[in-house]
Every structure is written in structure tokens, then in C-alpha cells.
Amino acid sequence: MIRTIIHISFLRLWHNKAELLLTFIVPILFFSIFAWIFGSRGSNGATPQLKVVACDEVNSNVTARTIELLEASGSLRFHLGEASKSASPKTVSRDVAESLVRRGLVSAAIVFIASPAASNENATESLAPAQQSLQTQTPAVEVMADSFDQVASQVIVAFVQKASMTAQAEKAQEDAAESLRSQQQASQNRQFNDLKFNDVNRAQAIATADRIDPTANAIAISPSLQSAVSAGPLASLAPPNIMVVDVLGTNKSNPIVAMYAAGIAVMFLLFSATTASGAILEERENSTLERLLCSRMTMDHLLMGKWCYLVLIGCLQTTLMFTAGALFFGLNLWGHFDGFAVMTVVTAGAAASFALMMAAMCKTRTQLGWVSTILILSMSALGGSMVPRYLMSETIQSVGQLTFNAWALDGYNKIFWRELPLTELTRELGVLVTCSFVFIVLARIFAMRWDRA
């Protein structure tokens, strides 16, 4: 009996091509998609370039050199802000830098500020002059970070530290060499002055001076410098004083909720819309569609009616979700309700159009279920609903722009995370409205097969 059941089950599986596909092909497909999305990050060993902007309030050689080194590292891409691309150095003012971070155009702003050590004379007066000089070259750095990207600030701090130390070392070497040269010159001058009164030994003295060991002269001339030079220039280097300032997340009661609410909302908006749009296929299968179209209703009425319903349901669903976020997790919904309302209507509209297009494309509800699940999961993965896009490679991030999830998430993030005004949402709203229009037109074209045959 058990063998018969197994046999029947295998036969049914063999005859049900959709189930066969689901069992053996879809897992491989999903694995491939996710491997491509997340695996490509490490395939070339390259970390995606982080967009940063620099602000140099010190304007010293060390800070300029530090910026040069950061640019040369290849891991950071400097944003020019309002400045021309040919502008050099590529720095902006503090306000511009902060604005760029707030608008999400850069992951962080590196602000070189006057070192506290430079202003604290008591702390440096005990040091030798050369050490004092080096100490004053140590910059203080403020990294204005966007904690939406929780990795970027740490990476940037490491890069800044490395570049700053390198710049300081280079500067220290240059200063030490210069100091030695000047001390040596001074020593030689004194010796020549002494020899001027000893005509007998002048020639011998000149010959002796030519053979002077510079180090011996330096020790003799400047004992304080001796210790500094003998220990090498790096002995006097200090790591830069780096402060990380979260310009966006500090004033939020629960920044994590603000970040992920949009991602989950958009994904579920798509799932619920496609599930609901499957009703049209059910209506076609049981001839209700035929009956509807025999009434005063046209296919245009039907699609628009369903679109409006899906938009309303989508808005309601998203509002409920964000309300729950506001009630239980401290999400500031009411403070951003205007942006939320606009963004939700437009996103729900795009999701409804997408769902109707999928339904009109598919032949059966089962087919719709599978195709839409694969597409939505892929779009959500690429668009950042599952994993933040900043963790993806630049290529995948670019591909992600083809999904409307990415645009919807950007829009919601601008509202809740960056707290930008509605005018900053023009691009996102434009893309979503266009998606909505294109999808519904495609849905109508596909639905022509249900029109009068």
C-alpha cells in the first residue's frame, strides 16, 4: 500500500509540471538570484566605494595630504557638492557637508577641525619644539555619519585614521629633515666664525669641517632634538582624534524601526496586491468575468475598479503597519504624515498596477502565485526590502534601481529617516507614478484577451 501511495505521488508530480518546476527548478533559481545579489560583493574582493564628502577647516598640509591619500585609496568616492568637478581640493563647507549627509547623497562627511592639542598650550609646552610642531599637525576629525549605513562610518573612520597617520608621518619626516639641515647650517656658520681668528689653522679647520658627521654635529648642537631624531620621526606621531557624529539617528526614538518599516511595508504591499489581483483569474475561471462583461461593465471599468480597490487596501495596510510602528515602537508617523500619505498612495498605486499586470499576464491563479512570488522576492532582495542596499555591490545597487522597491524605500527613508521635505521626493514619486502608469497600461494590453474574442 505504501509503495502504491509513493508511486501515485510520483506520477502526480510528474504530470504536474508546475509542481515539478517548483520542487526542483525554483530553489535553484532562487539560490542563483540570491547568490548573484550577495555573492558578487566578494567575488572581486572589492568593497563597494563609499560616497563621502570632505570639509577642511584646518587647511594644513597634513589635512590636504590626508584628503589626497583618502582619494587615492580607491575605496572612497568624494562628492563635490556644489563645487565644480575640477575643483581641488575637493572640499565643501561644514553646512554643505552636513546637508549632503542628511539628504543621503553621501554616506558620511569627513570634517577636519582644528586640533584641540593646538589650542592647549599647556599640553604642548613641555614638548620639544619639533614635537610641538608635529603635535600641532595632528588633525581632529569629525565624521558626520548617516547611521542608516551602519558599516560605512566604521570603514571611513579606519580609512581616515590610516590616511591621517600616513600624512603625519610624511610631514614629520619632512620637518625633521628640514630641522637637521637648518641646525647643521647654523653649526657650520659658528665654526667658520671661530676659525676666522685662527689664521694658522684655517685651512686645517676647513678640511675638518668638510668631514663633519651631521649626526654628531646635531647632537652637539641640539641635545633636545637628539632624542627626537634618534627615536625616529614616528615616535612623536599621535593618532588623529576622530569623533563620529550620527547626524540623522540621534534624535530618533527608534531609528531601526524607521529604517525597516518601509522595506517590510513595500514587500507586503506587493504580496497582498498580487494575491488580491488573482481574483480576476478566479472570475475568469468560473465564468463570472464573462457574466460581468455581459453587463454594463467593460474591461476598463473592471481594471480600474480593481486598481482602486487594491490602492485602498494597500493604503490601509501600510497605514495600519506604520500606526503599529508608531504605537509600539515609537515611530514618528504623525510628524511625517504628509510625506507618508503621499508616498503610500503612490507606492500602493504602483503595487496595484504591478499586481494587475501580473494577473493579466498569467493564465491561472496558481501560475500567478508562483511567478509573482519569484518576482516579488527577487525585487525585494534587489530593492533593499530584505537586506539594506548599501551592503550590496555597486553593480547590484544599480540593478536594484530597476525595481520600484528601491524607489519606494528611498522615498520612505527620505521621509522617516532623513526627514526631508516633500519637494525632495520628486524623483521617487515621479518614478513610482510612471511605473504605475506603465504597469496598468500593460495590464490593459494583456487583458485584451479577455475582451470580446
Partner: protein, 373 residues
């Protein structure tokens, strides 16, 4: 969206009172309750000929109506439609008078559903014309004249009875008081007033069928097209459904239905149209069809013991049933003589079975016994 919304302003009570056809049919039904009733005088002409595929004999009919002044409720003229190389409809012509009940019969794949969809305006025809009261069915103005009851249960099973009725009523342009009135009427009509707030998915097949029909007639269509309205229901429900259709017919509604229940078609419809291979092969009342195909003679099957010493005229051996068979017109007149002759020839009749020719015989005679799709 492009369809023009047309409001129905038909005075139905007036139609009910003035419909001569309906009244005459009612009178006729009282006189001949189990027979096909014609409200018009029909002259049916059958021409036997080979169709273009050489498949089988077809019968074409020409009906001459006595009431041809008004436009026909439904008129099909040389309707043709092909799907690829398959000719689904091959020049079908029909005229259905107002108030008539027409049964559309045919084997599977004959073209019935295609024809029904064409009548409902859901299928473009390659050639010919279909009109409803003189107006092409492709025009939006005919939508309110037509009621459609699909073969499938085209209702929302997750809505209650009253919700379904209201929804389909609105789709046909009813609203406000008229909608409420019609919904109340429909609930009484289908006998589900006490179940109006129950989800239709909890109903039996017969109840769902009744709701299915009610959704198609809420807007008082002049022509009601039903695709196998009684499929899969028990005899009681079927009886009730035909009672309901009879009530509609009594109000002057023209009914066109497809069915595989030939006994229903025979007993409930005025006119039978049999189509096969996309063509009308028979059209007329049941008696006309019988007369012109297999003849109206009754078949008398006899089980005889003993040997017949001589042949008896009109008595033949039917090897398929292993019985003797005789064809007689008047059993009362002819049967005693036949039995006497058998006895005279040494035979002893132990069993007699009489078969009256019916639509089933006509149908098999015309469409053959070969299995279809």
C-alpha cells in the same frame, strides 16, 4: 468605458398584460401540459442532404411565422466563426420570436457554447449578423435586453445571497428602490429569502444554481440565455428551476437554453434546435422533428416463446435487443391484431414493451452514435 450607459425604461407589467404570445402559450399549456406547445403556426421543411464535410445528413428548416411584424427577439443570419482552421460556426441562421422558449441541443464540440457566446456579444463573428430586437448584439444598447446565465456558477461564493444579487443588480444598472424591489422579488422567486444572509458557498448545488439564475434576470432581460442551467442538480432542484423559467416565460421573456437533458428540452421548450459541426441540422417543434426524422410510429418490442410458423408483416427481429419489433401508429387499433397474428402463427407473447419516439431518438438519429470530444 466607451460603452454608453443605457437606462431601461421598459414597462414590464404592460408587457405581461399585453403579450398575446404568452397568454396563448399559457392556454395551450393547460390543454396539453406534457407536450410541446407552439404559439405560432410553423411550417417546417426538411431537406436531407450531405454537408460539405460529407459527415452526415442535415436538416434545414424554414419557419414561417404568423407574427412577423415585430422585430425578432433574436435573429442570427449566416453566422460564421472560425478558430484557426476549425470552423466553429458554419453559417447558422435562426429566428427566435419574443416569448419563445428555445432549446439549443448538440453533441459536445458541436458549437453550442460558441454560439451562445456570440449571442451574448462576447465573441466576434467572422461573417453574418446577430440582432436582438433588431439591434446588433455588439452594441451596448442591447446589454440591458439580455440576461446571461453561464454554465459555471458565476457568482461570488464568498458573498451572501443578497450581496450577490445586489452586486449583479448594480452591474445591470439597478439602484435604490428598484434594486431593493428586484432583490426581494428574486429572493422569493428562488425560494431563498430565509437564507439571504448566508454565504452562497454554504449552499447545495441546486441552491447555488438558483442564485446563479437569479443574478442573470434581476434586470428583467427580454432575452435570457442559459448555458446548461440544470447541470449537476438533483431532480427536485431541476424541477424548481424549470418552474422558475416557466414563470419568466409567462411574463414574456424569451428563453434560449442549452442542455444535454433531452427530456427537459422536449418537455420545457417550444422549439428545438439541434446543431452539429457548427450547423443547424434540425429546427422545429418536437413532433415536427419526430415526424420528419424517425417517424411518429411507436415501436412495440415483443418477447415471444415458441416458433413462428409463418412470417408476420411488420414484425422484425432486432438482434441488438434480441426482441421482435413492430412499428405501429395506433396501438389501440393495431396491437390486438398483431398479437392475434402471433398467436395464430404459434407464438406466445410473454412480454410487451412499447416505445414512443422522442427527442433522444431524433438526436441520435441525426448526430449518430459516435463518441464526440
Amino acid at each position: 468605458m466607451s460603452r454608453r450607459l443605457v437606462s431601461s425604461s421598459v414597462d414590464w407589467p404592460a408587457i405581461i398584460l399585453t403579450s398575446q404570445a404568452s397568454l396563448s402559450r399559457l392556454v395551450s399549456r393547460l390543454r396539453y401540459p406534457m407536450r410541446t406547445i407552439f404559439t405560432r403556426k410553423s411550417t417546417t421543411v426538411f431537406d436531407q442532404h450531405q454537408d460539405d464535410s460529407g459527415h452526415q445528413n442535415t436538416l434545414s428548416s424554414q419557419l414561417t411565422s404568423t407574427t412577423t411584424h415585430q422585430p425578432m427577439a433574436l435573429e442570427l443570419t449566416n453566422v460564421r466563426r472560425s478558430f484557426g482552421k476549425t470552423q466553429a460556426l458554419r453559417g447558422i441562421s435562426l429566428q427566435v420570436e419574443s416569448g419563445q422558449r428555445l432549446a439549443l441541443l448538440g453533441p459536445n464540440g458541436a458549437g453550442k457554447t460558441t454560439l451562445v457566446r456570440a449571442i451574448c456579444g462576447r465573441l466576434r463573428i467572422d461573417e453574418g449578423e446577430i440582432t436582438l430586437f433588431g439591434k446588433s448584439v455588439s452594441k451596448a444598447s442591447t446589454l440591458d435586453e439580455l440576461g446571461v446565465v453561464p454554465q459555471d456558477l458565476a457568482i461570488y461564493s464568498d458573498l451572501t445571497t443578497i450581496e450577490n444579487l445586489r452586486a449583479f443588480g448594480r452591474l445591470h444598472g439597478l439602484s435604490g428602490k428598484s434594486l431593493s424591489t428586484r432583490v426581494d422579488w428574486a429572493l422569493e422567486w428562488i425560494g431563498l429569502a430565509d437564507r439571504k444572509h448566508h454565504l452562497t458557498k454554504s449552499f447545495s448545488g441546486g441552491m447555488k444554481r438558483r442564485v446563479n439564475i437569479a443574478c442573470g434576470v434581476l434586470h428583467r432581460p427580454k432575452v435570457l440565455v442559459l448555458d446548461e442551467p440544470t447541470v449537476g442538480v438533483d431532480p427536485q432542484s431541476r424541477h424548481r428551476i424549470f418552474e422558475m423559467l416557466g414563470e419568466l416565460s409567462a411574463t414574456g421573456t424569451t428563453i434560449v437554453l442549452t442542455t444535454h437533458h433531452l427530456d427537459e428540452a422536449q418537455s420545457q421548450c417550444d422549439r428545438i434546435v439541434i446543431i452539429d459541426h457548427g450547423q443547424v441540422i434540425a429546427d422545429g417543434g418536437i413532433s415536427d422533428l419526430i415526424d420528419h426524422t424517425i417517424g411518429s410510429e411507436r415501436q412495440v418490442y415483443l418477447r415471444i416463446e415458441g416458433f413462428l410458423t409463418a412470417s408476420i408483416p411488420n414484425l422484425e427481429w432486432d438482434p441488438s435487443r434480441e426482441l421482435f419489433v413492430a412499428a405501429i401508429n395506433d396501438p389501440a387499433e393495431e396491437l390486438p391484431g398483431l398479437l392475434h397474428r402471433i398467436r395464430t402463427c404459434g407464438g406466445n407473447v410473454v412480454d410487451i414493451e412499447m416505445h414512443q419516439p422522442n427527442l433522444h431518438d431524433v438526436f441520435i438519429h441525426l448526430t449518430g452514435r459516435e463518441l464526440r470530444e
